[in-house]
C-alpha cells in the first residue's frame, strides 16, 4: 500500500476512473448527510474568494452586488474542496518525491524565454480571462467538464467543446507547434 502511495505517478486511466467513483460517492454521501448533492466543481470558489477579499475593503459593495449575493459569499463545501485539492496534491507530491520548484514551465520557456516576470504576467492575465469565461459559461473543466458531462447535461457537453476549441486555437498561436 505504502509503495503504491509513494509511486511518483499513477496511470491516468486508473486515476481518472477513481475520480469517477469519487464524484459519485461525493453526491451520495452529501445527499445522505447534508441533504444537498455536492458535485465536484471549483470555479465558484474563486467568486466567493474574491467576494471575501473585497469584503475586507469595501463590504457595502459586495453586499449590493447581485452576482456575489446570488452565489453567497461564504466559506462552503466547495471552498474546502479547493483547499483539499492543495493539501492532497501536496501530500501526493511529497510521497512520490515529485515536488519541483518551477517558475517558468518548459513549453513557455521555449517560446518566450526564462523571464519569470513575463511568465507571471502571462499566468495572471490568462487566469483573469479564463475565470471570466468560466463564470459566463457557468463552470470550468471540473463543474462542466467532469460533473456536468457525467449528468449528460447539454450545457456541459457544449461548454467542454468550446473550452477545447478556444484552448487549441490559442495554444497553437501562442506556442507554435510546440517544438519537439
Amino acid at each position: 500500500m505504502m509503495k503504491l502511495l509513494k509511486a511518483p505517478t499513477w496511470n491516468p486511466y486508473v486515476a481518472g476512473a477513481l475520480v469517477g467513483v469519487l464524484a459519485v460517492l461525493s453526491v451520495l454521501v452529501t445527499t445522505l448527510t447534508i441533504d444537498k448533492p455536492k458535485y465536484l466543481g471549483a470555479s465558484t470558489t474563486f467568486v466567493r474568494g474574491a467576494g471575501l477579499l473585497e469584503q475586507v475593503v469595501v463590504p457595502e459593495r459586495v453586499a449590493q452586488n447581485e452576482y456575489f449575493q446570488s452565489k453567497k459569499v461564504k466559506v462552503d463545501w466547495q471552498m474546502l474542496f479547493v483547499f483539499g485539492i492543495f493539501a492532497g496534491a501536496l501530500v501526493s507530491a511529497r510521497l512520490g518525491g515529485t515536488v519541483k520548484r518551477e517558475t517558468v514551465p518548459p513549453i513557455w520557456k521555449e517560446r518566450f524565454g526564462d523571464n519569470q516576470a513575463l511568465r507571471a504576467v502571462g499566468a495572471f492575465i490568462g487566469g483573469a480571462i479564463l475565470m471570466f469565461g468560466a463564470r459566463l459559461a457557468g463552470g470550468c473543466p471540473s463543474g462542466h467538464g467532469l460533473s456536468g458531462n457525467m449528468q449528460l447535461s447539454v450545457s456541459s457537453l457544449l461548454a467542454l467543446v468550446f473550452f477545447m476549441v478556444g484552448a487549441i486555437v490559442t495554444a497553437r498561436i501562442l506556442y507554435g507547434k510546440g517544438g519537439k
Binding site: 445527499t31 462552503d76 496534491a89
Partner: protein, 174 residues
C-alpha cells in the same frame, strides 16, 4: 460536516490529480497542442465511470441531478473566452491550486488572476444578464431529455465511442 466532507473530497481529488500528472502545465498545454493525451485519458475515464454511477443512483431514486442551464450565447462565448485564458495560464481553476502545491510557483499568478477575473465578472454581471445570458436560454436540459430517450442507450454510445477513441489515441502515439 459539510466543510469536512468538502475537505476530504478535495484531498482525494488533489491526490489523484497530482498522481496522474494532469495538473502540470506541460500536460494541459501538451493536450492543446495535440501532443499529449494524458488529460483526455483522465477526463474520459472519470466521466464514463461517473456517468454510469450517477445515472444508476439517479434511477434508484437516491440522488438528484444538479444541472447548469443551457444559455447558448453565454456557453459558446464563455467557453471560447475560457479556452483563451486556459492556454495562456496553462491551468484550469481546479488544477492551479494543486500545481502550486507541487512547487509550480507560477501557478500562484494564475490563481491571483482568477480572483480578479471573478471580481470583474461580478461587476459586469448586471449588463451581461440582460444581454449574453439571455440569448438562447434553453434551461436545464440533458441529452436524454432532449432526445426523449432513456439515458442508458446514450451512456452505452458514449462508452463505446470513448473506448474506441482512447484505443485510437493509444495506437497513434503519446
Amino acid at each position: 460536516m459539510e466543510l469536512f466532507l468538502g475537505l476530504i473530497t478535495g484531498f482525494a481529488f488533489g491526490f489523484l490529480l497530482q498522481k496522474s500528472q494532469v495538473l502540470r502545465f506541460e500536460k494541459q498545454v501538451g493536450f492543446m497542442l495535440l501532443k499529449d493525451m494524458t488529460i483526455i485519458k483522465f477526463m474520459a475515464s472519470a466521466v464514463l465511470v461517473g456517468m454510469v454511477g450517477i445515472y444508476a443512483c439517479h434511477s434508484a431514486g437516491w440522488i438528484a441531478l444538479s444541472l447548469k442551464a443551457t444559455h447558448l450565447g453565454a456557453i459558446i462565448l464563455g467557453g471560447l473566452i475560457f479556452g483563451i485564458g486556459w492556454a495562456m495560464a496553462g491551468y484550469c481553476p481546479g488544477t492551479s491550486v494543486g500545481a502550486l502545491a507541487e512547487g509550480r510557483l507560477h501557478a500562484l499568478w494564475a490563481i491571483v488572476g482568477m480572483l480578479l477575473g471573478a471580481a470583474v465578472y461580478a461587476e459586469v454581471y448586471p449588463s451581461l444578464k440582460s444581454t449574453v445570458l439571455s440569448w438562447g436560454n434553453f434551461g436545464k436540459i440533458t441529452l436524454p431529455g432532449v432526445l426523449g430517450v432513456s439515458p442508458w442507450p446514450i451512456i452505452a454510445v458514449f462508452i463505446v465511442a470513448g473506448i474506441a477513441f482512447l484505443r485510437w489515441t493509444e495506437k497513434k502515439g503519446p
